[in-house]
Symmetry: C2
Subunit: 453 residues, 2 copies
Amino acid sequence: MTPFFARENSALLTDLYELTMAAGYFQNGFQARATFELFVRQLPPGRNYLVAAGLEPALDFLEGVRFAPDEIDYLRRDLLFRHVRGEFFDYLAQFRFTGEVWAVPEGSVVFANEPILRVTAPIIEAQLAETRLLSAVNFQTMVASRAARMVTAATGKPVVEFGARRAHGAEAGIFATRAAWISGCAGTSNVIAARMFGIPAYGTQAHSWIMAYEDEAQAFARFLDVFPEQATLLLDTYNVRAALRKIIAAGRKPAGVRLDSGDIAADSRWVRAQLDRAGWQDVQIFASGDLDEKRISTLVRRGAKIDAFGVGSALVAPTDARNLSMIYKLVELEHAGKTREAVKLSEAKATFPGRKQVFRFADSQGKWKRDLIALDSEIHKDAEVLLVPVMRAGRRVAPAEPLNSARQRCAESLQRLPSRLLSTGLASPYPVQHSKPLRKLLQQVRRRIRQRT
Amino acid sequence: MTPFFARENSALLTDLYELTMAAGYFQNGFQARATFELFVRQLPPGRNYLVAAGLEPALDFLEGVRFAPDEIDYLRRDLLFRHVRGEFFDYLAQFRFTGEVWAVPEGSVVFANEPILRVTAPIIEAQLAETRLLSAVNFQTMVASRAARMVTAATGKPVVEFGARRAHGAEAGIFATRAAWISGCAGTSNVIAARMFGIPAYGTQAHSWIMAYEDEAQAFARFLDVFPEQATLLLDTYNVRAALRKIIAAGRKPAGVRLDSGDIAADSRWVRAQLDRAGWQDVQIFASGDLDEKRISTLVRRGAKIDAFGVGSALVAPTDARNLSMIYKLVELEHAGKTREAVKLSEAKATFPGRKQVFRFADSQGKWKRDLIALDSEIHKDAEVLLVPVMRAGRRVAPAEPLNSARQRCAESLQRLPSRLLSTGLASPYPVQHSKPLRKLLQQVRRRIRQRT
């Protein structure tokens, strides 16, 4: 049986060129300390902000990453490494991540070009981590950013994450649950993830339950027998109104009902009225079925009587922005006693060299008004700093943050955001500038590189 | 440390409602044998066919799925299950998948509404598998379908999968490598996946290698020192033409060069001419950087001199079709000695009841001309059948198929497809019809349900 689940901290969770470059640096005795920054080049179309997520899994990887002996043997047998000396493989056997990491805590609001994670480490170590850091942080930030919009659109009604079946495999489903929880989702349908994170699991019955019984009324009754207090009955297998009439006629009150298709706004109002007339004011109406923040927002605006929303595909496999274009860029190198800032010239859009910090300025009410991407060495009084040290010498500076702290941070961050940005539509952008010293450094570095090429 | 990688065969890799329904069926003594079919409702926009992938990981799960004692304890403590009798949890402790599975072999070409997988099992077992089957088969079929288009567009030049960093976590990256290999990709950058599947790993240097050295010529030289025969040198860190001139001037022939940005068609022609002039006809030109089948096709049409293509985001996080809308539908139930076909009436588009088979008809040259979705019991001479038995009584009927057999099947399938469908544009659709008995059954079942509701 092939193990499709990789060993969690395998150093082979990387792209081959990270290992060929590692061999190259090692064999050349190139002992530089490199700083890489992970950031999103631009906001997805129609988006006003991002929510950072994925840090703790990334740190887990950095703390635990190892080459197993059989993994080293595998590389050694690869013809690509035939001219690589044996000392390199000995080095891999004792390989550890020993670097320093600064990061924006999970649940923080961030914008394009702001470093979310900054790694400073011996270049081989910093480089090897690229693939896993990107695959963890890119996806979770994507999900958290979208989930925050859905939660906001629901104006206080719970939003439950139903993404597992649409996620790209089991780990993606677990990551999605985690990120959605950070952004304020009320729980998940994903059992293994609910257990892993100690958060509420949601779910009662699918259409197949109704279809399995010859008679819909009987299908409802048999479910209520087993879940007398918790059953959410699904109304739209055949006909929403007929289904609800059967439930009310039977006289057994369910915990809730669910609409998964059709004109949910109209149906929900009709269902609410019928439930209320039956004296069942406390029966909840749950809506699902290809919902996203725009549809949730429309439902709310149209006065839909919905108590909770379920979201899946739009969260884990978004329709509006398939992936963030998150990148991990070398920005600085300390080598042979010198510090040198790095930048690539081939980029369509400029990226900035140097080790950076993000300074955030608030108004007198505590609402954020602008961000400044600056050199780490700059001092800006009256500003909050976004990047904080999270790892030194390859170990976390504090225990892994509980997921609920990140969730709390996200809720607070969204409150401090200018309220126009919380719209599901595109708002006038939050001001993010690069500091003067940073812009000056970019010019210097470009000039230096142009002289050499 | 939180284990973001789930236990591979955990029965908690499911949505909670599968377990509440399981408890419901169990406690009600509802012992039905259910048939579910997994299929794609419609082709993504602009697509002419799909390539089925993900079967073997799905079968691995079905063979291995178990509840661990601590997982059962977790469920038992959930308030949702408070009225569920203890016998249910004893049942979970010995839970196995004991069903029968028919499937379209991996690498086969399929179309919308054609069952890719058909599970017949005690309803609890068939239901529980839904989440994992969908998350494995949906994503891999999505990747395989896109990869086939890229491989076709490359007209014989190798296409290498670079998706790991853009994939939604490590398992998604591994699944993507597997699916891309089935569809004819030449290898992957993903080291752990290359090892897992015994396929070629590709990669030499990133921009950061060039940026790490103060001098670009020196960066090339130091890499050639370690990889004298295998180095593919990256040209576009600062200036493509300046970089190539340095390489040629240094007089050490690399295995290849890579273009990752800019006007790749024009640059590749210029690079080829320079390399040839230097007598380096055998130096390969590799292209990458946000490539997809349309861009590959344009490059080929514009006479780009490219020997191999690298593709990432477009494969694992597609821009044209973020997810297939793959679904898993109850189509038939055997209960209390009777067989009953099932269908949901709330669907915007009709789905068909009954246990199905797909019959495929070829012309005298062996090219496929049409498919017929029919009842499993129908006989259509002169047709090939797509669904074959792969699992009986919970065990595979044959050892897991080697990945290369699926790859071979995909290559052969694409050759038998009407050639218009291989275009990167939208072709007139391949004819897929539902058989007369199937359409008649749909009417009967609908009539029966309407009478009851």
